[in-house]
Subunit: 247 residues, 6 copies
């Protein structure tokens, strides 16, 4: 780590200000408005008793996610995907990533034949929307599971979540590995990576892409370490918000 | 007016708590997060220098609107229109209504060859989403026009808005005309009406529908009066928010 | 009322020539080819024993409508919505309006678990297509109900229609309220309103829009009166066509 | 030919009653409401000065056609293709057939850089809708060309149509070749064929399909002869309608 | 027949080199990679026990086909229909043609309640793709039926195929009827025809289109004869490939 | 590495039989039919002089890719995305991955204002389709660049490709890291990773996903090493095929 200072004054290994407003929605069974600096994502969890047809009778539940961005979340307006009549590749890809990340910490047998759909809608985008979404979605998911327990769709002592999960972006800018890229950093990054890590520090997903020059093993290791440490901080923030005194 | 008390304790001619958080978005040229009780709509205004091809060279600007609802804005989750691949009739209808309402107070010649797109995204729905959207959209629009003035796309002394505009729902429940229906009231209403009224008290739009028994002229008049009075209150709230001290 | 004469020689409170050719189709259970001057709409009613899945077992029937325009109904050709792959907002909006108008006079319990779909296809358009559609659709609906009675899907003495329904457009042109606008009038109207009125003279729907200057209560009242009177004439024409001697 | 009598009393080599109501539409540059017995197709021709981008500057015009059926043209209602969001294979196939048939008699160089779109909308279907459409479309096309001549988009002495074109269905039922099948015949036919023939008796299109048993050369020859003779009668009806005294 | 020599050295009545690689796919129940000169089509047959809902309980099977072309099968790249979000008319038309051709030789009662879907994907296109597809599809179909017999979904002695089927294109170029047109010939043809003929020499489908000048009966007869003879050769190639020693 | 033997007899660090049939297509400017065991992907490269509108005048070229699978490439048939009318998330994701992988070794300035579209169509799927696609696409790309050079769209001495690129899948099965998973292995893998590596051994993309238990750093390192070694072998195969003597 060097003592380079970033545009917003952060150290290279420092997260932006992260806040998680648990229970933002009065309609959903679980919800969180998560902010990573200027990135704001509304995560809602919808709990339904029952599963999709293809899972009926298997004694397992289903957790899935959908990601979308409001048209003016970004600096210039994007056409709505509903108006275009189709969902773009990026949207699909991120929705699938969030779903996989959450399922990695869910015991679907313990969930029973219940379905939880997590919607992650980006209200404002400033880099790292998918990682903020995963981090907030976990909180909404945890609350939806408790709601299901309260309604007796899930047993009182059944442990559905066997770990927590969070995510953060890391990247190499001007040769320097950095944590939690803001948009102005993201567009300049030579290598861009998202890591999804459990509360216990294990990897769920590692997605690294050379946007400019390809990267070597040493750079990859540095990025992974930054990501693992960043996720440990996010795990603590999640735990604080979900703690009884955090409500 | 009778002294009937409503489920949430309001008088029949009383608005819900209305708040308008001006400048909610740091990305858009104008924005407002408007709440009518539990209904919350994020309105962003996107200003672009230039007009759609079919308007080029006519010396006039263009104002349009798009309305949408997050999938879990409501009590049970709705599939995304982007996933379904098409926009429903209700969404289309409301987008068109909002656009017409705003254009009714805009001097498009004064706006010059500039385009303003207003996005109204319902984050949480509890009845009256289209009227809240119009009321908040006006604030976002006013700020986007000032932004354009600051950028010299609009002349310093040009009056683009010649009036303000707001909207409210009214309806007849158990024979009683009421103002600003919450969702539980809306589903029970025999007649449901939305009125869009300018700051000077003139009608821009009147849309009344008998959901149950058809209505007579006397009932229609009572509803219109409630609506005009409600819009006068909304106009004052808009003016307060937009006043220099309201920033 | 003034003695202004309109482009086609009508008085301001005069309908265009209205004809309803009952039973135009030899395929549908009910049908009518309705003309309001140059506007011609083919209305067919399709009767099906049974209801959509979401209504099964509730002892109620379902009436719905679809509106569409042939590509060359208008002065210049419009692309087909089937070719564009999506239905426009205007089409959706009018289909919903026609459906609501018809359901307002139908006792769905008396209809029993039967479905009637009314298709209103504009063969030629010269203003007022939605109001002509409602007026003709009522005749097609009445005949489809009688067909269902003949087939014993509806009891011999059951009264399904408790009133009739018709619709007409009204508008303000050069400050003057006028009845049943032709296309050349419609494009010039400052205010445009559609009223849907039952045979007994009650309002089912009132949709008024300021296309130019907003309107005041006095103008609104004048338009409503013109509309109510126009619908009374349309009701008489419907009754004449449906009378046994009218066949 | 045998002296078999058909369900509707016709001889095997007899057309149904064919009528062509020229100039049915007051909006289109050419139009015809054509009936082959219970089959009724509204054909409108839309003339535009100019050609699609890919033809610009080649000194040639463009003629194309679109075919569609109203949802209740048939005995039971079909969902609208605009509602389904896509056009079926049958619709596509027939639209292409009509376009090819018309282009076979048009000198596109003589037409100049003008476009004519023919819309064929089936208002009522009782077999042979595509052949009725071609037969009516020719009349609408001829009138649209004359309209273009009147507007000086086409030279006064330029011959754009070098022949006429019509079409008829033929088929084998119970081993017997028959002309112009009504719907009840069409569903029973072992072989079904559509022939498109010019006024001079040349083939533009021959489309024969074994719906049941495959057919041999002798049967094919019998069907072709019936079709050629039927088209000769249709050519005479077209000529009568288009003759100056036919207006 | 004249002794004209074609661009590729063939006689006017000569097929291109035809090869059928039976069992190309290790995944499908039946498959064939068919080549007609430079045209290469991969045909796979998917056998499913059971039928579509609308056929259940009728004791009959279902055979259907889908045709598509890879984007760079042709000399210049075409956009994917999946990317465009809709299937073109040509694709639909050919899929329907292949399905009809195959069903003409299948005894669907003998097939029992089983479904066979034939996919014909054009890997490389040089004219005659639809006729190569039909010819190859028959081989894939025959193998899928044998697969079903091996799995006891079809009785050991049940004859499902009562004839074979193949197809070839014919056309008139510079006034000369020719067999099996390559792409460079196809674009120059005045008349283009596809004939689908059974192994016994009966017609299943005849589709002739005048691309340039209309054609007369004598020309039609010459084309039909060329087509029948070409299909006889294709039948022999199919039989050779399907013969036990052909494996 | 252990001496575990896999279902197909391979060692854990052994590739399947890899073949690359260069120039398979006679239509495309570059092409390769690549096989990784039972996985067969046809890669075609389409070279166009010029760039998409948004790149015009920037002096840079464009390389993009589209991936798709034939409906019966897999063990059971999948519906066509063209028939469903939309592209699935998986297809989008892989198309984007292939495009990024290729662009990582292309100097777009050296390419000049030319566009190369690589189509990767999976003819048969047995695991690792995306990695086979990248590996074959590089060969097709290299040939398309040479084609462009031959046509003088690219300078004779300009180096457009500054490295080669290939890809392979790795995964952990029963706790054992393995190279190049076949389908039966892929479905059982606890962790699944795709690595895209340049000829010089640098990473372009690393995508690892825990399908079962999350993975730790040691496992990640083992997988990366296997992937780097596998890509080195693929690089040698590519080089052999592209070498002058390989033609």
């Amino acid at each position: 780590m060097t003592d380079i200072t970033r545009a917003d004054g952060r150290r290279v290994d420092e997260l932006r200000t992260v806040t998680i407003e648990r229970g933002w929605s009065s309609q959903a069974e679980g919800s969180a408005l998560v902010s990573f600096g200027g990135t704001k994502v509304l995560c809602t969890a919808s709990f339904t008793n029952g599963v999709p047809r293809w899972l009926v009778g298997k004694g397992k539940g289903w957790v899935t996610a959908e990601y979308a961005m409001l048209p003016r979340a970004t600096n210039s307006r994007n056409d709505r995907e509903s108006v275009k009549g189709k969902i773009g590749g990026r949207t699909h890809e991120i929705s699938r990533l969030i779903g996989r990340a959450l399922r990695a910490v869910v015991d679907t047998k313990a969930l029973g034949e219940n379905t939880i759909v997590i919607d992650c809608d980006v209200l404002q985008a400033d880099g790292g929307t998918r990682t903020a979404a995963i981090t907030g979605a976990y909180v909404a998911l945890a609350d939806a599971i408790e709601w299901g327990r309260g309604k007796k769709f899930i047993g009182q002592k059944t442990q559905v979540l066997f770990d927590s999960v969070s995510a953060v972006s890391v990247g190499i800018i001007d040769g320097e590995p950095m944590l939690d890229l803001a948009y102005v950093e993201d567009v300049r990054a030579e290598t861009d990576m998202n890591v999804v890590v459990t509360g216990r520090g294990l990897f769920v997903e590692v997605q690294g892409t050379a946007e400019g020059a390809p990267f070597d093993k040493r750079e990859l290791d540095a990025l992974l370490q930054l990501g693992v440490d960043g996720c440990a901080s996010l795990r603590d923030i999640q735990a604080g918000v979900l703690a009884p005194s955090g409500e």
